[in-house]
Symmetry: C2
């Protein structure tokens, strides 16, 4: 299904890498799995300056480039080779909307965080020839992938920075994501994923966007009328011209593919459900960085996991922008993240 | 429309008082407006021991009786005459489901918090002959009515205890409630309010219930698996046998009537939008009691209002049960509320 939103014009430049067939944990296979990759900076001769950045729900390489990457920043392309890999289902990598029938749309297979990380591992080892990652850093679902990397390939990940996300998704977060999914699937136009156009699911997408407005920011964000600072004249203006505008161009099946994956993020699948054993496998120096006002990946949930990681520091980011401080609208939050990441990158590791 | 849930068998005993036609702020009229009232204890000769308790969203006099009223409690029927008035739209007082066509169902008029409070005022002054209320206390939408009482009739309200609610609803809370409404109205079976049976709106009611699960408790509640303590074996069991069971028997139009009212609670309508002027009118000794972990009436929002009330104390209730600590499942939270209310009732007032 054509969708101009998922294009080089909007999100480029990125390269497509066909990593071959990807057999999935749930039993399906993505044939000729494409990973969309944006690279900033160059690999050095020792191949020890690679940073991997996985993407979050609905995000692509573009926002990560805009908010986190640049000369003088922690993620400095003059020092590091920064590899941003779009997650499966995000619309640039293999996704429901860009996979031809019969395997696309409502028939796209179930993908797990572990599938993404195995696909990324194939990319960085077989295509890019890397043996080590100086840092894996990501926010939200990017944090889920960061944890999965650090647990699954402990010998490869030297440093890890999960921001605003958890290693094992909580029941509360699962429920929240379920309500997001139901906002979309309950739209009669959704037709079990076989709509003719995302326009047919417009009402569902808008409900989904409004629920993001409720949970994505924080009560303090609205109390302070932060949306005015961001250039919106009123709550309505903000809902329509930011929240609706952001989500309404996206493909419903793509969002649902990511949401299903998000709900089930769980590194303890590798250790028979034992979270302590899973997190105990991590050898990366790890900074756990929740957003202080996050309503669904709250600091307390992240802190509980931090305690189980051998060499980890708990570095909450003070902000009233909630989870969506990831969007970069609070420069103070971004400055804190940069400071933490610089310190982490400067830390000696084994 | 018959609905066995809204009955004496389930919620009684209560009495129906026809207070006559109620002209509404939005322009409609409820003809022969019925208020369902449950009274505990007796009025003394001086008529100075009356306590008014308005109800919250979806709640009735029954849960207030079960959780807050009893000998030895702050709301002690041996000392006070405790008058629990069901809010308009809650299914016991005049409501969409029990108002005959053409004014019922989807044609039930818009009701505001101020309409409820004027109706209650008519009841307590004209029917019960009271000039003074020793205390008005309510949770959530009951807190909205409590504030409205204290601002609108300052000479009548000697003490006020708004629990887990605000005087002027916040934009965040408005948004949350909007998503609750849309969960119901987006169900094709809703048919603009002219469904044949609530069963036709089943899916919408269940989505609405699940969103309550996300926002009604707290992330700590789920982290601690509090639902197990409450007798539910798993998250699914809790969602189905508590959240779904609770809401699925209710009438969709009734819920929407209350939600619309809840969204627009605002005592500053009496003072041209000036909240400081409105809260400055309060002469009641007031205890402002948010739940510490409330996700949509958070302590910070309640604290901002508390600062504007002349004789008020800020008494947050420590609990991880979030907003729905009102249900009484955390005995420690209920004990705190009882302690505060006893102190408030013991306080000398002018």
């Amino acid at each position: 299904m054509e969708n101009a939103y998922y294009s080089q014009a909007v999100h480029g430049p990125f390269e497509l890498h066909d990593i071959g067939n990807l057999e999935l944990e749930e039993g399906g296979t993505i044939r000729g799995c494409n990973l969309a990759v944006a690279t900033h900076g160059r690999l050095n001769a020792a191949k020890d300056n690679a940073i991997l950045v996985p993407t979050w729900y609905s995000g692509t390489n573009k926002i990560l480039e805009q908010v986190f990457i640049g000369p003088g920043r922690a993620l400095d392309p003059e020092k590091y080779c920064i590899i941003v890999v779009n997650q499966i289902g995000n619309g640039l990598s293999s996704s429901p909307h860009n996979t031809p029938a019969p395997a696309g749309a409502g028939h796209f297979p179930r993908v797990r965080i572990g599938d993404d990380v195995r696909a990324q591992h194939r990319l960085v080892t077989q295509v890019l020839g890397l043996e080590r990652l100086a840092l894996v850093v990501g926010g939200s679902m990017g944090a889920q992938q960061t944890y999965e990397w650090a647990v699954r390939y402990p010998e490869m990940v030297q440093r890890a920075a999960p921001i605003a996300g958890t290693a094992r998704n909580t029941e509360h977060d699962f429920l929240f994501t379920e309500t997001l999914c139901e906002a979309i699937t309950s739209d009669p136009g959704f037709a079990r994923g076989f709509y003719r156009s995302p326009e047919d699911v417009r009402e569902g997408l808008l409900r989904h966007a409004k629920m993001w407005a409720v949970m994505g920011w924080s009560t303090e964000f609205f109390q302070a009328k932060r949306y005015r600072t961001l250039g919106f004249s009123s709550l309505d203006d903000f809902i329509v011209n930011f929240m609706f505008a952001y989500f309404s161009t996206m493909d419903p099946n793509n969002l649902l593919c990511m949401a299903w994956k998000w709900q089930r993020g769980d590194v303890s699948r590798m250790t028979g459900g034992d979270l302590r054993a899973a997190l105990g496998r991590i050898r990366a120096k790890t900074f756990v960085m929740p957003m202080s006002s996050d309503m669904f990946f709250p600091p307390a949930d992240c802190q509980a996991e931090w305690r189980l990681i051998p060499d980890a520091e708990f570095r909450p980011v003070e902000t009233i922008d909630g989870h969506l401080a990831l969007f970069g609208a609070d420069p103070n939050a971004i400055a804190q993240i940069d400071r933490h990441l610089k310190e982490l990158l400067a830390a000696k590791v084994a």
